[in-house]
Symmetry: C2
Subunit: 351 residues, 2 copies
């Protein structure tokens, strides 16, 4: 971490405001966030006034901004947890970090505050090693290296496009797990980050995430929306769906995805048992989705993230569209997202 040099002008922190009172959240994060530019997107479904404390470099976007920039000619919905993606769209920075507004900074095993920005940027700036597993985790970390038997030709690694952080206290479980084990809290701080190997799928959580916007920005989108989706994390799968897409796209483009540190401390909220009925839908969908993503292959002509999303959308429509109309809608949203990404990126000065 000490080797990470962060250019503050290269980082946007994007916060989806699901709660109107962001004061406690922002004050907890002040030591970490205050030197960076923040993009706060207010859930367009929320009526209350946003409370944001003084002392931050922040741009706030609300329903009227979304309507103005995006218009109504799109299948994309920015409501609830999905409002953060509007922030991804209007950012012009190289790196985006996004943290759910029910998380506060975690402490490491020494009791020190985890600098989530520094660690995410370190993950993104150091190469990833998707083509061979290093048993000592991140070989570029201070005090670590490639172990005996690791091919020298693979030791330079590839660009890391996505860094997926983890959660202490309330982990990111689904509603059934949460309902079954209401007392379970994650207290194990695993001091490691690793590259998720090529062709290995994973559940990407949007709770604590960072990515290289210039490289994979177009592949992070709100496309799959559950009919009964609500305002609790375990009722959503938009990040899981987008995460499967982005992992396949990174594999195709020869980019890396990391998982591990940094942790955030996730606070309790919501009633898992109430959510069970809605979430069950998401649980069932995964069974259809995983074999599709395990087998889908992108054409060699797809050489950018935009290309890949367009091709992925075609395959989703062809192969999953008939299984459930929700998938056909997701495919449409992915196509619309790429159009939006191109038009907003070229027409607007951004923030």
């Amino acid at each position: 971490m000490s080797n990470t040099s962060i250019n503050n002008n290269e980082v946007d922190i994007v916060i989806a405001a699901i709660n109107s009172d962001l004061e406690p959240f922002m004050n907890e994060w002040r030591p970490v966030f205050s030197q960076f530019h923040l993009i706060i997107v207010k859930d367009p479904d929320m009526n209350g006034e946003l409370h944001i404390p003084e002392g931050f470099n922040v741009d706030v976007f609300t329903k009227s901004d979304i309507d103005r920039v995006v218009g109504s000619s799109t299948s994309i919905l920015f409501s609830g947890y999905s409002c953060r993606y509007f922030g991804y769209l209007v950012s012009r920075k190289k790196y985006i970090i996004s943290i759910d507004d029910d998380c506060i900074p975690a402490r490491d095993t020494n009791g020190d505050l985890v600098d989530v920005v520094a660690q995410h940027i370190a993950n993104l700036q150091a190469p990833a090693t998707p083509f061979f597993f290093n048993t000592l985790y991140d070989p570029y970390r201070k005090g670590a290296d490639f172990v005996r038997g690791y091919p020298f030709s693979l030791r330079s690694g590839v660009t890391c496009a996505l860094s997926c952080g983890l959660w202490l206290n309330l982990a990111d479980y689904d509603a059934p797990t949460q309902a079954l084990k209401p007392e379970q809290r994650n207290s194990r701080y695993v001091d490691a980050v690793m590259t998720v190997p090529v062709r290995s799928l994973m559940p990407v959580s949007g709770i604590n995430i960072a990515f290289n916007r210039e490289v994979v920005g177009p592949a992070l989108f709100p496309a799959l929306r559950l009919a009964g989706e609500g305002k609790l994390r375990w009722e959503t799968v938009e990040d899981i769906w987008s995460g499967m897409c982005v992992k396949v796209i990174c594999d195709h483009l020869g980019l890396g995805v990391k998982s591990g540190i940094p942790y955030v401390w996730r606070r309790e909220r919501g009633d898992a048992i109430e959510s069970l009925k809605k979430e069950w839908e998401g649980v069932k969908l995964m069974e259809e989705v995983v074999p599709f993503f395990q087998s889908v292959r992108l054409p060699q002509t797809a050489v950018t993230a935009e290309d890949c999303v367009v091709e992925m959308a075609k395959s989703v429509k062809e192969q999953l569209g008939k299984v459930d109309p929700m998938f056909a809608r997701a495919a449409d949203a992915m196509g619309d997202w790429v159009k939006l990404w191109k038009s907003v990126g070229s027409s607007s000065p951004g923030v």
Copy 2:
């Protein structure tokens, strides 16, 4: 770990005696090893008398035992680090744990002695999850679970066949790395174990390893021997080669491989710079070997580890045999190993 119930009669601890004085080693391990049966195999190249302290349930095998059981009609050499494989051959237990004789017990972050046997057996007894990556590591561990988005159909997992432990202090680096960073010591205790995903290759180290002998025993063998191989770990690749084979075989048979805890504390020894000339050969070989193992596919008719080793040996001979005669010799040794495994297993009462 508290959920692991170990039947002592199901475990053999196999030690390759490279050093004649095993007293310090055995005394350090007494609290962990004393309740289990030990198989000590003396390096047939070593002339000195073995020193083994009192109070262990141990069978010792020497050159004369190897000659008697194996005979001379084989291409397999059991000298140096490879002598441990003779212990694998004569064991009749379900689980084998093998630790290099320059390692002593590690301590975890609480300062408690790591029970390497209990943790390896826990790893082998809990299912593995090679088909989807769980970001919170081992989902079966106390306090952990599958995260949101993990497909329910994959949550029962598969049999874990191999558990690869790690090293504190002197990590398992190759001679070039060791020579380049002579002061580097691994002090990071990462409190995690995970399944290495299907089709992801890894450098399996023989230093601290455990496996289900009944399931994959035939796939752990001393087949690839470097011309200038010596008596230092970083001069050997027999475990790396066997590890590539066993990973491909586990992937083919739908079995899991885990990497992570338990750690051992590895003591310094040897001069890396002296080893560089020999080890460089192993480093170069990996560049030929990795593309082979990434692409090799076993036929559906191969349904046991023995079948798989025989088929793998054929492919090695065909595809790598012409690259270097060392590979052709390795293929022969793999064929001989399976014959030996069958004959020793059926003819001898074992230990």
